[in-house]
Symmetry: C2
Subunit: 122 residues, 2 copies
Amino acid sequence: MNDLMPINLEKKFSAFTDHWEPKIVARMNGYDLKLVKFQGEFVWHRHGDTDEVFFVHKGEMSIFFRDGVVRLRQGELFVVPRGVEHKPAAAGECQVMLIEPAGTVNTGDAGGEMTAAADVWI
Amino acid sequence: MNDLMPINLEKKFSAFTDHWEPKIVARMNGYDLKLVKFQGEFVWHRHGDTDEVFFVHKGEMSIFFRDGVVRLRQGELFVVPRGVEHKPAAAGECQVMLIEPAGTVNTGDAGGEMTAAADVWI
């Protein structure tokens, strides 16, 4: 039998240092599992056509909404519903796994200089 | 502002003790994030219409294929491609998060007594 390799999040996170630039580690049915490091404040934006899962692998982060906030720690997740404006932020570095359709752009409808390529694998 | 509650995997896993019975903790775009505890051997089966993500939250498990095996530890994940026959197993208890379309049945095409309801939330 062949030994297949799992995807190890710790190893994948150790392979990059930039912030706010999601990297794809796996794809299922056209959905991407992406790793990203957050630090500081992102831009307000929305994804008009998709929900978005945030899962914290390490560290702490917040997702601000116009009328609320959710604070996430290691081992916690939250689903941002489609169309809902939000702004991720993290005081210290936070390691996050995102789940969203392939091709989803990090800044959604907002665009701007924090927009990252949506098709980078690591 | 309202403080929203994240989904804490540790708390969710501590809320049930049964094995091989996935519980939904979140839904995004019609996909479910399900928690399940594995112990022992599951049945050989396939899902003809969907890939399936296995992410290990705690413990160790294996996914056997007809021509190979992948061994997963905490913080590791693997995508089983649609149509590929597989058999999950774990020597000790293993806590796993599955990602798959809502309604996906755990035993796939195999059926049998290990088949669990696909719509149980926790």
